[in-house]
């Protein structure tokens, strides 16, 4: 990415962070929470 303009590099990084947060909130965190669920007596 060294050949890219600075603004484009910042944009790519921000998009990558946003995508990472979406993946965490939509899939990773619900999966982690489900592994904790104790169905015996909620």
């Amino acid at each position: 990415m060294t050949g890219l303009p600075r603004w484009l590099r910042v944009l790519v990084i921000l998009i990558a962070i946003a995508a990472g947060v979406v993946v965490l909130f939509e899939w990773v965190f619900p999966w982690v929470e489900a592994t904790w669920y104790n169905p015996s007596l909620e």
Binding site: V21, L24, F25, F29, E33, Y37, P39, S40, L41, E42
Partner: protein, 259 residues
């Protein structure tokens, strides 16, 4: 007067960064990333999950509003914006609404709700003042992880509201809008109001709180305290807050047993 350090000459080669410095740098980035992920997870649990539950509860309160129109209770005015039901005091307690089946004759809910769908309305009062949760709670059918993301859930094998046996409800203490966050503030004599899908209104008297182990499923028995009586309501939630080590259980009995 300070002297600025001399700049390296153009073309001079910098000394290579030692391996331990690079390793420490990578470790630092990994730890910072892990900290951010953990922080985001806390945000997810405490705030993000509540947004989803609030949206589902609002949707189900709309369903209750539509359902209430089919009931024959003139005074029912459902103020969805406030999550409240003005005029609820006019509903007959522990008895039939006009033209509705007598709970004594019909001992179970005729409408069989799908898992995760609206099952009953519940709210708490002390001397006419709302306690535990400012809003009415739409209880859904089922207690799976998915069901409880919609709100408090009715244990499917337990009794229906007003029915002989143990009407049991589970709810989150924290996360997913935390409907039972203040369940420990109940005091003997507090009223727990329940309206079922047919508009029948039951009032349970709160008896006592107990903290038990998650494996203590005896609290769901028909006579959980072994003191007699066969019209119980039990609410279970995690205890203490932010922990699943124990369960807080609120026991209540029907104020007026249908004849």
């Amino acid at each position: 007067m300070t002297v600025a350090p001399a700049k390296p000459a153009v073309g001079a080669q910098r000394a290579p960064t030692p391996v331990w410095v690079r390793a420490t740098r990578v470790l630092g980035w990994l730890l910072m990333t892990a900290g951010v992920v953990v922080g985001l997870f806390i945000v997810y649990l405490l705030f993000w999950t509540g947004r989803e539950t609030d949206a589902i509860q609002a949707e189900q309160l709309t369903e209750w509003e539509a359902q209430a129109e089919s009931w024959t209770v003139d005074e029912w005015e459902f103020d969805r914006a406030a999550g409240d039901a003005e005029g609820i005091e006019s509903l007959p307690q522990s008895g039939p609404v006009e033209d509705a089946p007598d709970p004594g004759e019909v001992d179970e809910v005729i409408v069989d709700p799908e898992p995760g769908s609206a099952y009953a309305l519940v709210w708490f009062e002390r001397d006419g003042t709302r306690i535990v949760n400012e809003r009415m709670l739409s209880v859904v059918e089922g207690v799976t992880l998915r069901d409880l993301q919609s709100g408090p859930g009715h244990y499917p094998a337990s009794a229906d509201p007003g029915q002989a046996g143990n009407f049991s409800v589970a709810g989150h203490r924290t996360t997913w809008s935390a409907p039972f966050w203040d369940l420990d503030t109940l005091q003997p004599g507090d009223e727990i109001h329940v309206v079922d899908l047919e508009g029948r209104h039951f009032v349970y008297d709160f008896r006592e709180l107990r903290s038990v182990l998650p494996s203590d499923v005896w609290v769901l028995d028909d006579d959980p305290l072994g003191v007699g009586g066969d019209h119980w309501m039990v609410m279970t939630t995690c205890h203490p807050r932010f922990s699943a080590a124990q369960r807080l259980v609120a026991f209540a009995s029907l104020q007026e047993v249908p004849q």
